[in-house]
């Protein structure tokens, strides 16, 4: 009878699917264009901001973090990419074909997760480095204290940014499987990365542990070089986010396995 097909084939197939859609490349282009655009807009008046800053603000001046705030928009675009990898198959009905070709369903999801996370890591890391370099150049041009790639903590902040964005991509894949619909998954993602952080000040104290690992809150604290007193252990927070994302993905695996297509 037929020989077994290695997992690398499933990975390769998912990569062909992703690269053969123009929307993938449009989304990645949008990520870079918007990400860089937001950086240059945010820092266009950074000289004035610094001039008006209080002594305490100057004490906490973090040129690295300032140049990376574009992650807030970047995470949404990367999230869209992760969601579409899954929900475009549900929207078109292609999922039945995919699971017919690969009835070991966990393979399909594992391949999608690997591809989405990997692509988000590369694209997110590229955006982080590009935004950092552009931001520092703009700050230098406006005679504001700025950082260089070799400075203390800069490498960690940039790497943290890439890992943060890829965690969001993986979260998006999980949400896509759970909701099976682009709109539902996107609404959930927006609620997670924008809505909950905006409302977090009103949460009771027992939820502060959640805020510590929440996207755009504690988990994003790794994107700094000057420690935030609110989040003293940013890498633990990011680790917590990854664990939470792993739990969401585990749920997605169970649902995908159990549900009829």
């Amino acid at each position: 009878m037929s020989a077994d097909v290695p997992f690398t084939r499933t990975l390769q197939a998912e990569w062909i699917k992703l690269r053969s859609l123009r929307s993938t490349w449009y989304t990645l282009s949008a990520l870079m264009a918007v990400g860089i655009g937001v950086t240059s807009l945010a820092l266009s008046t950074v000289g004035q901001d610094y001039a008006e800053a209080s002594a305490a603000d100057r004490q906490a001046w973090d040129p690295t973090s300032l140049s990376l705030t574009t992650y807030i928009i970047g995470q949404l675009i990367i999230g869209v990419l992760g969601i579409l990898i899954v929900t475009s198959e549900y929207a078109t009905g292609l999922i039945a074909t995919s699971l017919g070709a690969t009835p070991r369903r966990h393979r399909v999801l594992a391949a999608k997760a690997v591809i989405a996370t990997g692509l988000a890591l590369v694209a997110g890391q590229t955006l982080m480095v590009a935004a950092f370099l552009l931001g520092q150049a703009m700050m230098a041009a406006q005679d504001v204290p700025h950082a260089a790639l070799g400075d203390d903590g800069v490498f960690a902040a940039l790497a943290g940014g890439g890992l943060y964005l890829s965690a969001i991509a993986l979260l998006a894949v999980g949400l896509g499987v759970i909701t099976r619909a682009t709109a539902g998954a996107l609404a959930t993602l927006v609620a997670i990365v924008f809505l909950v952080p905006a409302l977090s000040g009103t949460f009771p104290s027992w939820m502060h542990g959640l805020v510590d690992i929440w996207p755009t809150k504690g988990a994003a604290a790794v994107l700094t070089t000057v420690p935030d007193p609110e989040f003293p252990h940013p890498w633990l927070n990011l680790g917590g986010l990854w664990l939470a994302v792993a739990a969401v993905l585990a749920t997605a695996f169970v649902l995908l396995r159990r549900r009829d297509v």
């Binding site: 037929s2 699917k17 053969s20 123009r22 198959e89 039945a96 297509v261």
Partner: protein, 304 residues
Amino acid sequence: MTRIAVRGLTKRYGPDTVVDDLSFTVEPGQVTGFLGPNGSGKSTTMKMIMGLAEPTRGTATIGGRRYRDLRMPLAEVGALLDAGAVHGSRKARDHLLALAVSNGLPARRVDEVLARTGLESVAGKRPGGFSLGMRQRLGISAALLGDPGVLIFDEPVNGLDPEGIRWIRDFMRSLAGEGRAVLVSSHLMSEMARTADHLVVIGRGRLIADTGMGEFLRANGEGTVLVRTPEPGAFALRLTAAGATVRDGSESSLVVSGMSGEEIGRLAAYHGVVLSELSPQQPSLEDAFMELTKDAVEYQGAAA
């Protein structure tokens, strides 16, 4: 030779039993028509065979194994469940390539199946702009990628123009001619009459008939005889008196059942009745099908 074996297959969605203790076999080398009214459970049965829906009870196996245990499913089962199930902006060739690669099939298979379905010229195009007929062909290309011994098609001619219908019909016949087991569903009896060797008829999820096409035709749909005479009223009385059932046909003809043409001719001769037409009517497949499934149609019109 690979066959599909469905044994005691049952699917419940909450209180609704969609497929009810269904058993049949799809043999290699022939086209098995899977027939039933809309909503009778055909698609659900096919999804269970494909491992896309989990049976509540019973099994569906392909060559003795459950679908989900197949390691290279495309090399054993090819299926077209929904021709629309492609991403409209992924080029036809890429769509097929991803499927082929996922099963470890060589990339040249993509060009081979595109050639077999006559899609070479649109291989680099996006299916979003394809006609329904072309999408069906693309779906069939995907089903053929692994050169499988079993093929499953769900309503493949739905919405096609006559040329497309003929192409699919001939294609099914040629696939069966190559020794493959072909299962094709339809709610159109007339379509099956030209395509299938064997019939599996279901209604409300239950098996109604599992039989060869010829036997099905002979066993179902009682034959009628069309009679035309200048004095239909009087002759109808004589026919009824002789035990036949008579109803009025078009243009003052009589449709007689319960008597053969020869018996009717003798009766007319005995009474000196002039006949201008005496023609036995072949029971149509459609009639046979309606007759079989009349109790099993889920939603009947008020007039039915």
